[in-house]
Amino acid sequence: MPTEEEIYQEHVLDHYEDPFHRGELPTATHAHEDKNPLCGDVVRVELQIDAAGRVQDCFFSGTGCVISQAAASMLMEAVHGKPVVEVQSLAAEDMLKLFGPRLTPNRQKCCLLGWRVLQQAIYSPVGQAVPDKR
């Protein structure tokens, strides 16, 4: 069982208090939102994917625990400017590694919420197919 000091590292707290690109992206071409039904954590990801297939810009929003929100911030920072194919190849394991501290299976779900939403956002053009849940 990871201890409190192990999970809530400086790096995690930094992202929680000073997140990367938390907010809205009015120019988004793709977006998705989902929640963890067990705890109610919500993450929304908005992407602007350009003609060359790059994540030109990305923002996240939502509410929830330190882990789900800090993980989403780390993920936005990591995929910003990256080709979509690279983002698609990002596995759950990579997300857990990116987050850093070892997590129990229950808290892994918190960590992976943003990653799950991002992977679906890539296939969710704004104003088509998947309805905007907001």
Partner: protein, 436 residues
């Protein structure tokens, strides 16, 4: 292995109405340490309580000496088990002041008791346009069965609102209770707010318009002396595992006339009078509602739990919890940024839920756990209530007869640390290593 007590033990200013500390020795599970050297501080009793040695022994003894199926076998073990099972039923009858043991139905828990009423009484008595009145503070188990009943029958579910400090707005009953109201279902004690609702008054008002009253007693029966005859309720549902008994057992009390008139809900062995090639006739109460092999050991364990609670005394338990929750609220109020949900200590049972602006309830629970303090975090199966309060989750500390003031101190000390750690401090993010 000897372990040091790392949670603080501060002399308590409380003396008056507390139960003796030696009572903790009756509960083997409480004497352990967790996460290495942390003394276990168990404050998740509203979710499920712990059980005394006498309950564990009663079930062990049954399995070691007396166990067989009940009401069936013509042999000595079946007779012993049947006697013990029916004796447990009589203990519960006396414990809640029911007139007859025919009014005590064993179920698997509060949820199953409520669903039994919804399926049996509800389907037989409700029609389109009828109204079911609940409150906004109900547990999902006292909402979803009524939503399902409304879907099946076309009945309408209405809600009694609450004040900002978590008390029912009884004036709203003037307009909410009408001749269309066929059922009023509400909790005696809120599992999230701790509010003690005025059961007798609410019941009297509901009966005045001819409605049937079901009370969710999951959070009240374990903590406050309950007398169904004095309260006048028609149905009372509660669970064994929240009152020092085993999981998998619960009770539905129903007024005999109502239960007599209700059709059986689950069909199977044990609930019949006679089965023919193409039909059946139902058995007598209470067997009519106990199809299949019941939770035998669990019912007997619940009987032992009732013995234990009766010996300690429900009034003393309630006073003990009032002392603890009053002390907890007084100390919690001093933590920066905390918001406590629900009314003042005088209107509540022994639990307190709260929220911080930072961090989220799940982080609070995880951080408390790492200090050995077990609490509940989340929506506590009361999402409509959380919506009403404008929050998504809260943290709940809930007390029982074995909790002590120094455990409140351990909770408050740990929460103070958490509040300090997560207070916005102007920290800045450093660039994350490139992973893709």
């Amino acid at each position: 292995m000897p372990a040091i007590t790392s949670n603080p033990v501060v002399p308590s200013p409380l003396t008056g109405d507390l139960l003796p500390a030696a009572l903790r020795d009756d509960f083997p599970i409480l004497s352990q340490h967790v996460h290495g050297e942390r003394r276990l501080v168990f404050l998740d009793n509203a979710a499920s309580s712990q059980r005394p040695r006498s309950v564990i022994d009663a079930m062990d003894r049954l399995y070691e000496r007396d166990y067989a199926n009940v009401h069936r076998g013509i042999h000595v073990l079946s007779e012993r088990s049947t006697d013990l099972y029916e004796e447990a039923r009589r203990k519960i009858q006396r414990f809640i002041g029911a007139r007859s043991e025919r009014e005590i139905i064993f179920t698997s828990g509060t949820t199953s008791s409520i669903n039994l009423v919804a399926r049996s009484w509800g389907d037989a008595n409700l029609k389109a346009g009828d109204e079911i009145l609940v409150t906004v503070m109900e547990h999902h188990s006292n909402l979803v069965p009524w939503f399902q009943l409304a879907e099946r029958t076309g009945a309408v579910v209405k809600q009694v609102p609450i004040t900002d400090d978590g008390q029912l707005v009884l004036e709203s009953l003037d307009s909410l209770l009408t001749e269309r109201t066929k059922l009023v279902a509400f909790t005696a004690v809120s599992n999230t707010l701790g509010t003690i609702n005025p059961v007798a008054e609410f019941t009297r008002r509901a009966h005045a318009v001819g409605a049937v009253v079901l009370v969710d007693g999951a959070q009240s029966v374990p903590h406050v002396a309950t007398n169904v005859a004095a309260l006048g309720v028609d149905f009372l549902a509660f669970s064994g595992h929240k009152m020092c008994g085993p999981s998998g057992i619960g009770v539905l009390y129903g007024r005999e006339e109502l239960l007599e008139a209700m059709p059986p809900f689950m069909g199977g062995g044990g609930m019949i009078n006679r089965v023919y090639a193409d039909r059946f006739t139902a058995g007598e109460l209470p067997a009519k509602f106990e199809a299949g092999t019941p939770p035998i050991a669990e019912a007997i364990g619940l009987g032992a739990a009732v013995d234990y609670l009766t010996t300690v005394g429900l009034d003393r338990i309630h006073r003990h919890e009032l002392e603890l929750v009053g002390y907890a609220m007084e100390r919690l109020a001093k933590i920066d940024g905390i918001r406590m949900l629900g009314p003042g200590p005088e209107q509540r049972a022994g639990l307190v839920s709260f929220v911080f602006p930072h961090p989220h309830a799940h982080d609070v629970a995880q951080l408390l756990d790492s200090r050995g303090v077990a609490v509940r975090a989340g929506h506590h199966c009361t999402q409509p209530l959380h919506d009403r309060l404008g929050i998504t989750a809260s943290t709940r500390a809930s007390f029982y007869l074995y909790n002590r003031p120094d455990e409140v101190d351990a909770l408050v000390e740990a929460l103070g640390r958490i509040a300090r750690t997560f207070r916005p401090s102007g920290r800045k993010r450093k660039k994350t290593d490139d992973i893709a």
